[in-house]
């Protein structure tokens, strides 16, 4: 069983509780164990870097140092948390002066950062460490006929990371959706920003950016949008009504976490995946979950005895 230090992040305790439960359920089903980082703190999101960069790095370093104590690599389901933790780890590993300064602060909480761990996003763990073949083998309820817009967003793939395995034209989200039987649609805005905190700081800009995304997904005839980030989910779903009011549009497209789709395909009950907490009902997915699984094939080589 693979084990990781799990960093839920603030949103998964509140707005994105269904991401948390679906992540844990799906991981368990696939033989991945999460050990939550003890007494973790906020990663700083973006506002922290607006105020002081060293402070932002120290916040992330505290979480990394706690994870290191258990000699586990960190997994974060939120794209923004992932980006902050990943790049703090990279900066501290390559800049001993910065690490020394941050370690002086960490002493106050009896911690020390050594730079022995790695940081991954949850979708990386599923695609790279578990593997698409292993996932495919466990699918009991393939999402056949479900047209899904794979929305990567920004922080999952940018800035470009030194390990660079997903490059500028990533396909791993499409591949993952195909592995669970869904049909990934051509979604031209898959790497465009959702507007992030502009929804608070500049509503007009935020809504305009959302409109483009929703229009792109609707034009691609997607049944739903799949996300890897709690902020993307909240913006795309909760502000759809505001977009409609502002621009006279008529969007009504469900927005789910990729873990919820995986969970349904793996035969987990929708309720255990937090499905039902949406403002826009996830009807197309529920239809997949309610379908009878295709008759199980007899194991290779065994003969079915005739009565």
């Amino acid at each position: 069983m693979k084990r990781y230090a799990y960093y839920p992040g603030c949103s998964l305790e509140t707005m994105a509780a269904s991401y948390h439960v679906s992540a844990v359920e799906t991981a368990n089903k696939l033989g991945v164990e999460f050990q939550e980082i003890e007494d973790w703190n906020c990663c700083g999101a973006t506002p922290y870097s607006n105020v002081d960069e060293l402070l932002a790095q120290t916040l992330c370093a505290r979480n990394l140092a706690i994870a290191e104590q258990n000699r586990l690599d960190v997994v974060a389901p939120c794209s923004a948390c992932f980006k902050n933790l990943y790049f703090t780890n990279e900066h501290l590993k390559t800049d001993p002066d910065l690490a020394e300064h941050v370690n002086f602060a960490l002493e106050a909480d009896n911690l020390h950062y050594a730079g022995t761990g790695a940081v991954q996003h949850l979708i990386h763990v599923f695609v790279r460490d578990v593997g698409l073949d292993a996932i495919k083998r466990q699918v009991t309820h393939p999402l056949t006929g479900l047209r899904v817009a794979p929305y990567y967003g920004c922080q999952l793939v940018r800035p470009r990371r030194p390990d660079g395995w997903d490059g500028a034209g990533p396909r791993f989200f499409e591949d993952l959706l195909a592995a669970i039987g869904a049909e990934p649609v051509q979604f031209p805005f898959r790497l465009r920003c959702c507007g992030a905190s502009l929804m608070i700081t500049n509503r007009r800009a935020g809504l305009g950016m959302l409109r483009d995304l929703l229009r792109g997904a609707t034009q691609a005839k997607a049944d739903l949008i799949a996300t890897t980030c709690p902020l993307c989910q909240m913006n795309l779903e909760c502000y759809q009504a505001d977009v409609n009011r502002e621009f006279g549009t008529n969007f009504s497209i469900p927005v789910l976490y990729f873990t919820q789709l995986m969970g349904v395909a793996l035969g987990i009950r929708p309720k255990s995946l937090g499905i039902g907490k949406e403002l826009i009902q996830a009807k197309p997915v529920l239809a997949c979950a309610a379908r009878k699984p295709p008759a199980a094939k007899a194991p290779h080589g065994s003969k079915v005895r005739q009565p």
Binding site: C10, S11, E13, T14, M15, A16, D39, W40, N41, C42, G44, A45, T46, P47, Y48, S49, N50, V51, D52, E53, L54, L55, T58, L59, R62, H91, H101, F104, A105, L106, E107, A108, D109, N110, C154, Q155, R158, P159, R160, L191, R192, C193, G195, A196, S197, L198, I200, T201, N202, R203, R204, A205, G208, M209, D212, C238, A241, K277, E278, L279
Partner: protein, 187 residues
């Protein structure tokens, strides 16, 4: 002979600390502006802003909404042919304008950032409903009403907690932060 650093020097020095190339190598090709998904909501495009910094237009730069309209999606940084990190530049300008307390009147960004940082310094975790006062006035009474309607819907789905959560070792945490910045006036 010592001369006072220009505005462009100050920004370039700050950028240097973030590990990107300096603004003086900008060729004004506007790749950043065309990659930016928020450019149409900015007073000046990123390309123009870099030009203004290099030409020393300090007051005009600080008075613009450009950097506070950046959503930090890094599309510009990915495409710059000269290796400049315009998204980092926007962060630098946000910090600079907060330190100097100089920004366009009526912008929500600075107050939101301060509120966010204050919340985390107190509790170690973020709490969404706590930021509401930063922006409710922007949408006026109608906006507030709509925001509340959505809040109630989310509350009924169990997606908004009534009590903010906090980390256990808050005292250590605050001592840790105080080794980086003075906490007086913030927390």
């Amino acid at each position: 002979m010592w001369t006072k650093p220009s505005f462009s020097d100050e920004i370039s020095n700050e950028m240097y600390a973030t590990g990107t190339r300096g603004l003086n190598c900008c060729i004004q090709c506007a790749t950043c502006s065309s990659a930016c998904p928020a450019v149409e909501y900015m007073d000046h495009t990123p390309r123009r802003l870099i030009g203004m910094i290099n030409a020393g237009f300090r007051d005009e730069v600080l008075a613009s909404n450009t950097f506070w309209t950046c959503a930090s999606c890094y599309a510009c940084s990915e495409h710059c042919p000269k290796g400049i990190h315009p998204a980092e530049l926007m962060y630098v300008l946000k910090r600079y304008s907060i330190w100097k307390n100089r920004y366009q009147e009526g912008l929500v960004g600075p107050e939101f950032s301060r509120r966010f940082v204050r919340t985390i310094m107190k509790t170690g975790k973020s709490y969404e409903p706590g930021y509401a006062p930063a922006f409710i006035f922007e949408g006026g009474f109608q906006g507030l009403l709509r925001e509340m309607q959505m809040g109630v819907k989310l509350l009924r789905k169990g997606r908004i907690p009534l009590i903010p959560s906090r980390i256990k070792r808050v005292e250590n945490f605050r001592r840790m932060l105080s080794r980086i910045v003075p906490l007086e006036g913030i927390a």
